[in-house]
Symmetry: C2
Subunit: 239 residues, 2 copies
Amino acid sequence: MQDPTETGGEPSPGLVSTAIQAITQHIRSEGLAAGDPLPSEAAMTRQLNVSRTVVREAFRSLSAMRLIDMSAGRRATVAKLDTGAMSMVIEHGITTQQISVHQVYDVRRTIEMRTVALAALRRTEAEAAAIAQSARLMRENFQNPEIVMEHDIAFHEAIAAASHNPVFSLIVTAFSGVTRRTWVIGWRTRSSSEDQLKMIKGHEDIAEAILKGDPRLAAEHMAQHFDKSVKALLDAGIA
Amino acid sequence: MQDPTETGGEPSPGLVSTAIQAITQHIRSEGLAAGDPLPSEAAMTRQLNVSRTVVREAFRSLSAMRLIDMSAGRRATVAKLDTGAMSMVIEHGITTQQISVHQVYDVRRTIEMRTVALAALRRTEAEAAAIAQSARLMRENFQNPEIVMEHDIAFHEAIAAASHNPVFSLIVTAFSGVTRRTWVIGWRTRSSSEDQLKMIKGHEDIAEAILKGDPRLAAEHMAQHFDKSVKALLDAGIA
DNA sequence: GATAACAACCTGTCATACAGGTTTCAAGGG
DNA sequence: CCCTTGAAACCTGTATGACAGGTTGTTATC
């Protein structure tokens, strides 16, 4: 039925994929930035000569990946960089057992040894304070694992942010979901309060090294932190 | 009437988001693995008591993130781990100028210093051969930049695969799109054939170190490779 | 028992309809 | 003149029905 001069020749694995490409292509060719509005569904429908169903599924797909923002009544807009899609991919890999928690931790260790060094070199005063603040809140709430975990996650994300490289932030944040699922296990393995406080001390050491601007020391503390975390997970039988 | 507390809001007021969660939840609770079939759209429609439109947009969204595979006539199936979504996020960040090529290279350098060390430790004979093969093909086709680039990308992906950690593969592959867009620029900066061959020699050194099983040497060569690549991009004026 | 036609089911796409949110702009009141 | 107000125009969210075409299992035929 529809035969609008297929340019290029790709027999198309589906009209929706074509529409998705058209939209991303539009963003690129128009040089749109985060917040800029996209064409309406109706306009896209006319331009591509397909039904609104197809255009809509394309928009919705991009929205699911958080490349665009949609909300009722308003045109879709280009989205700010967001972890949404990435964390879903990681989660999917974990739940379908295609990747293991241990493998994620190896990647985290690799990346965070770098973010912490960069943070020590590039952090602003405010960022150093935020990092130290998270560590302090971990200690103050150390009886409540859930709260400690949230501050732990915030701690690592703050370090990534202080690296001033959003790609690192993106990846670190994408792993936070996995952390939420396994953190408590590692915490329980640290049977004594002493062990738990020692682990919190590790965070404070990292924060301090960042504050002092010593990348080598910061990386060293981070490595120790991860080695202990991985060991705790291994002791708990997490593959 | 603006409510800035909207960012990162969890309360998704859409039926589609609910449906997406229901599907991923189904995968989790049923313990599905890659290749397993999902309920049909009709079944989901009944279960969630929403229209097929909604269910379909949910399926399509998951398909766009490559969490599930869809094809006409057949039920959707759980997908194998794939880079699709991740590379789109990275591309989006680049095209909307929220991240720079330089930042991507810093992340690549960080990750590939690790993958190359792991590859040296864990590679099979076949993997070592594949890596060396890519390096050889780079040399054999060194007059043709496009082909050299493809083998370069294959080279790095093969190293990631040899690390035996799919998360590394995932990330490295996600960056390949960026490489395709900037590689030629770096190549041109290496004005003389001599420089270009020197760069290929760098790849061969890496391959050899992996074959010898020397992680420290491999990482060192990889670091040099990236330092030169970044310098080439900087010389070309890429931010 | 093998094979070919068929029926049941499934996804891909289209058309239409309507509810509800958002923006725009002009008319009316201060 | 400015501000408020309200309606119209536009937009997205969801539902329904229809049909084409692919896939699979079953049955009838050889």
